[in-house]
Amino acid sequence: MDPIVFDRFTMAFSLAVHIVLAVIGVALPVIILLAEYLGIRYNDKEYKVMAKRLTTALLILFAVGTASGMLVAVNLFFLWPNFAALVSKVAILPVYAEVFAFFSESIFLALYIYSSDFFKNKYIHMMMMVIAALGAAASAALITVLNAFMNTPVGFNIQTYLNTGAITNIMPLSVFFSPSAGIEVAHVIATSYFAGSGIFLGYFAYRFLKAKGERERTYYQKAVKLVFCLAVISTFFAVITGILSIESLYHVQPEKYAAIELDINPISHAPEIIGGIYANNTIKDAIFVQNLQSILATGSANGTVPGLSQYPADTWPPLFIHDLFDLMFFAGVAIGIFLLIILIIYIKIRTILTNKLVLKLLIAVAALSVLLLENGWMVDEIGRQPWIIYNVMTVQQAANMSTAIIPIAIIIVVLYAIMLPFTFLVLRKVFSKRKLSTELAR
């Protein structure tokens, strides 16, 4: 079997698992921070207990996330050695800086845990988690900068590299300012908070439905309210940055844009194509909304959108990313509208967040938010195929073709298959011994 199949599978599998742990690592410190602040500010027992319990969960999930992150980093450098060699010469600075962001997150998380009764001023203790949260966000941002480089490479003479293989005119800092870096970072941060808060919104909604006793119900009600606020704010920013992202794609990655929109030929008065598949040189089973794509992309119905026929067919990404994108878009819109409706109702009816139907729908939001997250990254990564660095290096050129990768790929999958259920077992075991009612009564 072709080792590249195992390279792709191993990388995709590792990333698909890691991204969920990563967004939890980004969002959960902020949730803990909010709970801690409310607990200190209003001397609220439930929020103080919430901060403590969530910190234990963060410790376990952070350890697993770190392990998974290490595996992804090892995969990146060892499955794609030629990519790693080029990145190490041209674009290593964001990866290098990310290490320090990770350190601040892990050290200040440890400090937050160890210094819970060390500082007299509780706000100083809280500052440890502020730095940890900033470290987590910075870590996500810096890795995204590397991804932006893969989508819109800068920082060296690309033409000389393609002609001769020599890497010249290196400008290491320019990788932080690649054409897609800004908007990608903004969108990734917003969607990380969106997906992370979505997961916990669903979790707390589920726990509220199962809660026994008034104190537990109050606790989970406060948790749902807190995370709901974060989810609403982050959804708003996720939508704005998502719109700006697709607009940016039109300018900096027109081929990917054309594939996402299923535009085979460049045209004006372009319709928005919803759903459908491209087969036998036609688009089937799609809904066409006339002029909408031109208006959204260019501001005018006369505007011209790029087409895939402008590029060699062997550089087209798989066109099912169009359907993945549509799924992501409509699911995102559905969640956004739902949360907005709940928010409006909440202004008038404060008990809406305790309604059983609403809580069950919030659990569905949790599942959808994970789906959106995976979908978004699939659109990004598959949409760049066959390139690992757009227009510079293909996946084939970057791959480790050693057959030693095959048993290792199997081991990595088995490891995740053990690690993930083990993590949930540990969480379950730890919290089964720490009864919420006991902690609230103390």
């Binding site: 290490m70 090892v74 600075l93 290098y96 800086a97 350190f103 892990s106 160890y114 890497i167």
Partner: protein, 310 residues
């Protein structure tokens, strides 16, 4: 001397010296489980934090310092590195779980699991180290590797034995165990094993040491000081263990400079080009400074809490 290479050497020396202390704790966890809980566990949480942090730092610094070597390292050491990463992850998971677990009867099981996984991880890391130093079992030019010989060659076995012996000596000194002081001779015995391995398999390193004894001065001075302190004021000896290991490993690296793979590769040819070099140096100094401050704060809080508990 290239400053980027020296920084990389310093990072490796810091990381490996702490890994040897962790190996020392792992040996105790396998052989003396009750002692492990009394003497080792309180150090393990901060130690694990630092070795985890430093390993990531070192790997990324390695990629930033020698980007041209990455394809060779990837092809030659893919299998042991990935297996070591797998064991490291399992080890970290066990350590995190054992800290949170409240069931005392499971503690011995966790301790031994942690110890065995640490031992396996270290064996694989030592395999990579010994192969990259001696060039044994690998051809860095033609990118070929003999995997069974990589694990079982004489230099690797001797290095592993030397490091295990050294770790055992460090276990006694660092964790202040009440064993007959004659066991402190394990440290010179481990050095003897290491020297034997170098004489047989990498003679140019010995030639360099004999040619310029100044390389060995810090190691000898620290070793003598550590031995004297251990014999007369043994509770302070632990403060010499890590500097001794650090100095020893750094000396070993400087004796090799700038070669790798038994002299077949000159590292200077693979160092990242300018202007990336300057930025990597800047990021290392700024980031390393911040890291040092953060770790100092961490140790201050950890140490103050320990004192308050006593």
């Amino acid at each position: 001397m290239n400053p980027l290479i020296i920084i990389n050497y310093v990072l490796f020396a810091a990381l490996f010296s702490l890994l040897i202390i962790e190996l020392a704790g792992a040996i105790i966890s396998i052989l003396e489980c009750d002692l492990y809980r009394k003497k080792v566990l309180e150090y393990l949480a901060p130690l694990w934090e630092i070795t985890g942090t430093l390993s990531v730092f070192y790997l990324v610094n390695l990629a930033a310092t020698y980007p041209g070597l990455l394809p060779a390292i990837d092809y030659l050491y893919l299998a042991p590195i990935l297996f070591a990463a797998v064991f490291l992850i399992a080890r970290d998971a066990y350590l995190a779980y054992s800290e949170l677990s409240l069931e005392k009867k499971e503690n011995k099981k966790h301790a031994r699991a942690y110890g065995i996984l640490t031992l396996l991880t270290m064996f694989l890391l030592i395999t990579i180290l010994s192969s990259s130093v001696s060039g044994g079992a690998v051809d860095p030019i033609n990118l070929s590797v003999n995997f069974p010989y990589l694990l079982l060659n004489g230099f690797n076995i001797l290095m592993f034995e030397a490091i295990i012996t050294l770790a055992s000596a460090c276990a006694i000194v660092f964790f202040d165990l009440k064993y007959p002081k004659i066991l402190a001779t394990m440290a010179p015995f481990s050095l003897a094993l290491l020297l034997m391995a170098l004489v047989i398999h990498v003679p140019y390193i010995i030639a360099k040491a004999i040619g310029n004894p100044l390389y060995l001065a810090p190691v000898i001075i620290l070793f003598v000081l550590m031995a004297l302190v251990y014999l007369y004021k043994n509770k302070y000896a632990k403060f010499f263990a890590v500097p001794f290991l650090f100095a020893g490993i750094l000396t070993f690296e400087l004796l090799e400079y700038p070669y790798l793979f038994g002299g077949a590769v000159n590292l200077s040819y693979f160092v990242t080009p300018q202007p990336t070099t300057s930025y990597v140096l800047l990021f290392t100094l700024v980031g390393g400074g911040f890291l040092a401050l953060a770790l100092s704060l961490f140790f201050y809080v950890h140490h103050s809490k320990k004192r308050k508990r006593k």
